[in-house]
């Protein structure tokens, strides 16, 4: 079996599904059902988190390959199996999902419309997301990757804002169009290798001219998911219209699925095409960082501003991945974690204002630091984390990416680094408008500071922002082995004589 002695990853993946079934059987008055549904969902997600921590403790960072592997025959005649596993790259993404889901569930406490359905959709989302990060079979990965759309479509469409239907349909169609092209790439690679085991696919050479086409297919799919400029246009709509817990999951976890896909498939499986596409990806990344930062600067709504800041940060992650250096990729991974936590914190801060009945228009806020000092301190911490201030999580990721980029191309590193300056600009503009200007209308003066539930959401996030920033080694040492192996394999694939040696061996 594996070192846990039981199918830990499957348990983490499908425990929320058990929760869904449990919620479906709740009976009684509406109010009681709603209350029970909230608590049942919270406890389920906490149980998953506990399993996740156990996974972390038991995880052996010295191994570059997959651990806790599971393998069951599924479609044996065509070599598709149910394969699960975790390595240093996916470990923290699984943990991030497990960590943010309970927080998002607390953030959805204020939802009163069809509570049970919402919680069911949310737990389903957790199943799909964890399953996607843990799958080591391409078909299984694809299934989870695309099945994420089902609960998310409902979450945006049923519980979203005014233009929710437009946003939900746009989100669904954009993502579906992208992932269907990946399906074709999948089918080709399956046909080429005779199996969909991701480890086997990694070692099956693909002719360089085909790689280009496969890379385009992957770019269509993961680029949309990661909201790489110019495939990001669904994002402001979806982020803006989704209910707050949905936005948290979208921004913090689902956007990582695209970057994860690049790291898992596009870079290691298509080394030549990835290398050839690096200038394109750098350009897209730099454009995302600079152009989208400027767009963020022009936003007048707090939620949309944070949404655009997310696109800009994804640009940094993309740059890091395509440097093919240990620093760049580790920086991208670190930035994925850091961004997930920071963006969740920022959106929850926006939600705090919504819960007090305020609008999120920047012109209608101001002066909150006077009445809500704790809130102001935490919002400031997350904003600083987003800017990448030393001592916060954002700094480590960005500096690693910039160092990695510097090894490859000076201009990329310079322009990518410019994102930090622009990031400081729009975040400070937001802070001033929300916290420091004068009260724009009298009701702001009577707002109360954070409540216990809000502390419960924000304090763990704040602690993690600091932990990641002050002692990043607890996280990076897990990345070291798989990232080093990946970079080595990439260089080997690009150098002809070593490639030849691999063939003759």
């Amino acid at each position: 079996m594996n070192q846990a002695g039981f199918p830990l990853l499957s348990l983490m993946t499908f425990l929320p599904l058990v929760g869904v079934v449990l919620l479906a059987t709740l009976r009684g008055e509406d109010a009681a059902v709603a209350r029970n549904a909230r608590w049942a969902a919270l406890w389920t997600s906490l149980a998953v988190l506990a399993l996740g921590i156990y996974l972390w403790i038991d995880f052996n960072p010295a191994i570059a390959g997959y651990q806790f592997t599971e393998d069951f025959a599924w479609l044996p005649s065509v070599n598709i199996d149910y394969r699960m596993g975790v390595d240093g790259i996916s470990l923290f993404l699984i943990l991030l999902t497990a960590f943010l889901t309970p927080i998002a569930i607390i953030a959805s406490w204020s939802i009163t419309k069809r509570v049970r359905d919402f919680m069911m959709a949310f737990l389903l989302l957790e199943t799909m997301t964890i399953g996607m990060f843990a799958a080591t079979d391409f078909v299984l990965f694809y299934i989870f990757f695309e099945a994420v759309l089902l609960p998310m479509y409902l979450i945006i469409g049923v519980w979203g804002g005014e233009r929710r239907i437009f946003a939900a349909v746009k989100f669904f169609i954009f993502t579906l169009a992208g992932s269907l092209f990946m399906l074709l790439a999948l089918v080709w690679m399956w046909h080429n290798a005779g199996t969909t085991d991701m480890v086997a696919l990694l070692h099956t050479p693909i002719p360089p001219d085909v790689q280009t086409w496969l890379f385009i297919a992957f770019l269509a799919s993961f680029g949309v998911k990661a909201a790489v400029w110019p495939l990001h246009t669904w994002l402001p709509d979806a982020y803006g219209e989704a209910p707050l817990p949905g936005t948290i999951m979208l921004a913090a976890v689902l956007s990582k699925m695209g970057a994860y896909g690049f790291l898992r498939f596009a870079v290691p499986m298509l080394p030549q095409a990835a290398q050839a596409a690096a200038p394109l990806m750098f350009t897209l990344g730099v454009v995302a960082v600079i152009y989208v930062s400027l767009v963020a600067l022009a936003q007048t709504d707090m939620k949309r501003l944070i949404a655009y800041s997310s696109v800009a940060h994804m640009g940094v992650i993309i740059i890091g991945i395509f440097t093919f250096t240990v620093e760049g990729i580790e920086g991208a991974l670190f930035q994925m974690l850091s961004h997930g936590i920071v963006i969740a914190g920022l959106f929850i801060c926006a939600g705090v204002l919504l819960a007090r009945g305020e609008s999120l228009a920047l012109t209608k806020l101001g002066g909150l630091a006077v009445r809500m000092p704790a809130y102001a301190a935490l919002l400031m911490l997350f904003a600083l984390g987003s800017m990448g201030l030393p001592g916060t999580s954002g700094f480590v990721g960005e500096i690693l990416v910039i160092v990695g980029a510097l090894k490859v191309n000076f201009w990329v590193s310079l322009l990518g680094g410019a994102g930090m300056i622009l990031g400081a600009a729009y975040m400070l503009v937001m802070l001033r408008a929300v916290l420091f200007d004068k009260f724009t209308h009298p009701s702001l003066a009577s707002l109360v500071d954070l409540k216990p539930a809000e502390y419960a959401m924000l304090l763990p996030l704040a602690a993690l922002v600091l932990w990641l920033g002050i002692y990043p080694v607890s996280f990076t040492h897990v990345f070291d082995a798989p990232v080093a192996a990946m970079v080595q394999a990439h260089l080997a694939a690009l150098t002809p004589h070593t490639a030849l040696a691999m063939v003759t061996k």
Partner: protein, 472 residues
């Protein structure tokens, strides 16, 4: 003995149907419900007997029993049985319950299993006509309703045209090759074929394409789907589609298998046009039955993609696709039949608004089916698409696969619209409580669709065995 055992399922249906007809005519009371149950029983018996059929040729090479025919036969029984179950309550409520209907269904099923096991162009045609004639009457079974009679007449006129094309093609093939036997034809055509035979094959292909409603021979489908009583539409959407597609597979891969190079492009065009038309034309539909008609055109396009590959994997993909589509299809029609307000059947998509708040289970079932039709994993429809795309890419038909992908995205849009109406729009559908038989079919369809991913192996293996029996 072997002979008797091999034709036993057909005998059970034929003799059983005639016996029921005789008895029911003599009884003066309304016997539609007991006759329906009796026909369902006939299907069950025939299906069990089918499982024990020995392989081989019967009647001097007129019929061929194999793993392929057994697989398709079982699908036909399943589809027809589901349609009959759906008709029980619907026909009573619409006051069109007549005992002839289930018996006609039994005879059409008999025609279908004859055409599936046909090993000669003549038996093919006889089976084809038997099922068609029975279905023409079924379409017009609501005889006092203008739309139903119009559907029946339209189906008859255009169906007769298709039969004419088919028999004309058969006569050309016979005239230029001198035989109607599949095995002899395969031997003769392995050395290539003259223009006369090729023209004949094209006519045969067109005649069969009409039956599976592949574009551009689909014109009858939307009107007939909309006009016919819904259980009849459910029947049209399931069993005859499977039978005609199985026939197409066995004809094209059997006697004409060596001419793959000649007909492959034609089938590709049929598939591409069907997928495109099915996706685009459905967008503007307001009536859910019309929408299902266009959706079925699109699905037949995907199923044809497997045939276009012309390989064993392609046949397997088409068979698997058909099996999955059949289940989704009768599940969806069960949901449509359950759309009934104060005794009146309603059919527009807008009537579904707000369904998810009033009857969550019903809405969830329909949502699962719609997502599956759109091919979203982990639902069964995804696996169908995975297999046909795999067959097409492996056979080098990448452009066709790309068209399939693009039309899937467009198609997803209108399936999503139904989910949108049910979940996002406000409204009070106030549907009547559906009859137990309808809820049963709905549950089977939705549950099989949703849970298929748990155990996809056996069905895929069965489809593979069937494909091997046909191609290998």
């Amino acid at each position: 003995m072997i002979l008797l055992q091999a034709i036993l399922p057909a005998l059970v249906l034929g003799l059983g149907g005639m016996a029921l007809l005789t008895i029911a005519v003599l009884i003066k009371r309304d016997t539609s419900a007991p006759v329906t149950y009796a026909v369902l029983l006939l299907f069950v018996v025939a299906a069990i007997l089918t499982c024990y059929q020995p392989d081989g040729f019967i009647f001097g090479g007129l019929l061929k029993i194999s793993g392929f025919s057994r697989f398709a036969d079982l699908l036909v029984y399943l589809g027809a049985a589901a349609a009959l179950l759906l008709s029980l309550d619907y026909n009573r409520q619409q006051k069109i319950a007549r005992f002839e209907f289930p018996i006609l269904v039994a005879f059409s099923v008999l025609g279908m299993i004859v055409m599936i096991s046909a090993a000669d162009l003549m038996t093919l045609y006889v089976g084809f006509e038997l099922q068609s004639l029975a279905l023409y009457i079924c379409a017009a079974t609501d005889r006092d309703n203008l739309r139903s009679t119009e559907a029946g007449l339209k189906y008859f006129v255009l169906g007769a045209l298709a039969s004419g094309l088919l028999i004309y093609g058969i006569s050309l093939v016979y005239g230029f090759s001198g035989t109607t036997n599949f095995a002899s034809l395969a031997g003769l055509l392995s050395a290539g074929a003259g223009y006369g035979t090729i023209v004949g094959i094209v006519f045969v292909l067109v005649g069969l394409a009409f039956k599976i409603s592949a574009a551009p021979f689909h014109m009858w489908t939307p009107d007939v789907y909309e006009g016919a009583p819904t259980p009849v539409t459910a029947l049209f959407g399931t069993a005859p589609k499977v039978a005609a597609m199985a026939l197409l597979l066995s004809v094209m891969m059997g006697p004409f298998g060596h001419l793959l190079a000649q007909w492959q492009l034609l089938v590709q065009i049929l598939a591409a046009v069907s997928m495109t038309l099915g996706a685009l034309a459905a967008i503007g539909q307001k009536n859910i039955k019309r929408l299902m008609a266009y959706s079925s055109i699109g699905h037949m396009g995907y199923a044809l993609m497997g045939l276009a590959a012309g390989t064993e994997a392609g046949v397997q993909a088409t068979l698997l696709y058909l099996a999955i589509y059949l289940v989704m299809s009768f599940g969806t029609f069960a949901c449509i039949i359950a759309m009934r307000r104060q005794g009146q059947a309603v059919e527009t998509i807008a009537d579904l608004a707000g369904l998810s708040t009033q009857s969550p289970a019903y809405a969830l079932a329909l949502a699962v089916l719609m997502w599956s039709m759109a091919g979203i994993p982990p639902l069964s429809g995804f696996f169908g698409k995975l297999y046909v795309f795999n067959a097409a890419v492996t056979a080098g038909l990448l452009p066709l696969a790309v068209i399939g992908v693009l039309t899937s995205v467009v198609g997803a849009f209108y399936y999503l619209r139904i989910i949108k109406v049910m979940y996002f729009d406000a409204g009070t559908p106030n549907f009547d409580k559906a009859a137990p038989s309808v809820r049963f079919v709905m549950l089977i369809g939705a549950a099989a669709t949703a849970l298929f991913a748990l155990l996809p192996g056996p069905l895929a293996a069965a489809a593979q065995a069937a494909a091997r029996a046909l191609v290998g």
